[in-house]
């Protein structure tokens, strides 16, 4: 690896990190606004126009808060947990295919995706997102608080039961695309059509599992306020709490990005249309790539809206209902989806 490549990596990392922070800030604002609208309220509108700077004010407040650690907590792990949560959330961003290559330096093409050609990208993302549960589990355990521990345990159990069928939901897409590389999967979708048309149950299953993986309502059992106070983050204050909170929103955007890439055609703006040929431009030219990035962002944020919308519409599952749904309903459905997709592909060949 030469110096230029290193510099590009550092720049990409900086951009992605800031992208994550800013988008998380506005996702929090969007969450509060959508919640307010659904409840016939207006939502935050005092800090800047339409409350644009509300999240930044909140983060500033969190920075000024006292950092309280319970006397009986295991300090090392208590401090480590938010770092794991946010670290995993950020590292997933390196794998998400944000758009095609933007610039060419020394014969290498660079875009916003740090690792555009990892040939097991899908697998790696699934692996990374399941590491994220360590942050929550350690946070719950090290706080030395019953409620936190319950939250951490629930998160672990939820992860085990949903990770499996999440992987299986992706298998259908991988069978159609014939690859685990995000670039090839997206190019395949741009050439034929979006996977959601072949795999609607796959998208539905993946969406349900993504809700469970990111601990969002109706699967937000790890933090279920009425029963567990705040769940795993009960004993966290100040920016440590802020990091756990940030990680949750970072994971939502990451899951939305993965769904957009796997099922909604990634950076392909319109299905069945070859935009580059229509406009008479090179598919790797800058306007087309920028348009693709815009399309990817639009799809991701539409899915983020779905996450928020679902949260303010549905009640929380009971713990046994969650397990029933995961093992008795979603797992067989995911297996059936894999079997049917595989059979159809085999028959078509």
């Amino acid at each position: 690896m030469d110096l230029i490549q290193l510099a590009v990596f550092v720049a990409q990392g900086g951009i992605l990190m800031n992208l994550m922070l800013v988008s998380a800030a506005y996702m929090v604002l969007a969450e509060r606004k959508v919640a307010a609208w659904i409840q016939s309220r207006i939502g935050p509108n005092r800090v800047g126009p339409w409350g644009m700077f509300q999240s930044f004010a909140d983060v500033f407040k969190l920075y000024l808060k006292e950092d309280i650690v319970p006397a009986a907590a295991d300090y090392k792990f208590h401090a480590l947990a938010p770092v794991i949560a946010i670290g995993v959330a950020i590292s997933v961003y390196a794998l998400i295919p944000w758009g095609g290559p933007l610039v060419t330096i020394d014969g290498h093409q660079y875009g916003l995706s740090m690792t555009p050609d990892v040939n097991v990208g899908v697998l790696l993302i699934l692996a990374m997102t399941s590491v994220g549960v360590y942050g929550i589990a350690i946070a719950g355990w090290s706080s030395n608080n019953k409620y936190s521990l319950m939250g951490g345990l629930r998160s672990t159990a939820q992860m085990i039961s949903y990770e499996l069928s999440m992987g299986l939901a992706v298998v259908g897409v991988v069978l159609i695309g014939g690859s685990l590389n995000f670039n090839e999967l997206i190019q395949g979708q741009a050439a034929n059509s979006w996977n959601v048309l072949y795999q609607p149950p796959g998208l539905l299953l993946f969406l349900i599992k993504a809700l469970a993986e990111t601990n969002r309502a109706p699967f937000d059992l790890p933090e279920a306020e009425p029963e567990l106070v705040g769940g795993y983050h009960t004993e966290y204050t100040g920016m440590k709490f802020g990091l756990l909170y940030l990680a949750e929103y970072a994971n939502i955007l990451a899951s939305s990005g993965v769904m957009a890439a796997l099922f909604l055609g990634g950076w392909d703006p319109i299905p069945f249309v070859d935009e580059a040929a229509l406009l008479g431009m090179d598919p790797t030219s800058l306007p087309i790539v920028l348009m693709g990035m815009g399309a990817f962002a639009a799809k991701s944020f539409a899915l983020v809206f779905v996450f928020i919308w679902v949260r303010w519409s549905l009640p929380r599952f009971r713990y046994d209902q969650l397990m029933n749904l995961g093992w008795k309903v979603l797992l067989p459905l995911a297996l059936a989806n894999v079997a049917i997709t595989g059979t159809v592909i085999l028959l078509l060949q």
Partner: protein, 166 residues
């Protein structure tokens, strides 16, 4: 839970209701429509609420052109369940002979019951529309005559209400 045999979910619900998805879609549709319905929030410091005459805000003393109506009989102080009112009477050369030298309402104690207004023989203490009570210390919470006396012109709606309904 495992012992329930009658009226189970599978008996109560039909197939489509049992797989939840159509019902979830309906619920999502409801919340989506709700997002575009009118909002009920009042933007408080900019949009203020104007109460009706029947509203019981902070009690005030009525100020006529020739001075206050109060004759310092002390009935309001006597009836006040929260012991918030303190009156000290003094004599005057005017026709009504007595006036309150000191009239204090401790707004930290006042419970806005309106008994003082009800008991007043001169209609001199009435409940106003003022609901914005802010003070920085306990001492500031004790309102003297300077804050209590309000010109009669501003209290017409309340006096009208009392004439009609009392």
């Amino acid at each position: 839970m495992a012992n329930i045999k009658e009226n189970t979910e599978s008996q109560r619900l039909n197939f489509w209701e049992r797989i939840y998805l159509p019902e979830i879609a309906r619920g999502l549709g409801l919340t989506f429509r709700q997002m575009f319905r009118p909002k009920f929030t009042r933007q408080y410091p900019e949009e203020r609420w104007e109460p009706e005459g029947s509203y019981r805000g902070r009690p005030v003393l009525v100020l006529e052109e020739d001075g206050e109506r109060c004759v310092a009989c002390g009935l309001c102080s006597r009836v006040c369940p929260a012991l918030a009112i303190e009156v000290r009477a003094a004599e005057t050369d005017q026709e009504k002979e007595r006036y309150p030298e000191k009239f204090e309402i401790n707004m930290l104690r006042c419970i806005y019951c309106g008994f003082c207004e009800e008991v007043c023989p001169e209609e001199a203490i009435v409940m106003s529309k003022d609901y914005e009570l802010v003070f920085g210390s306990q001492e500031e919470g004790i309102f003297g005559k300077d804050k209590l006396l309000i010109p009669v012109a501003q209290l017409q709606e309340r006096l009208e209400f009392l004439r009609q309904w009392r």
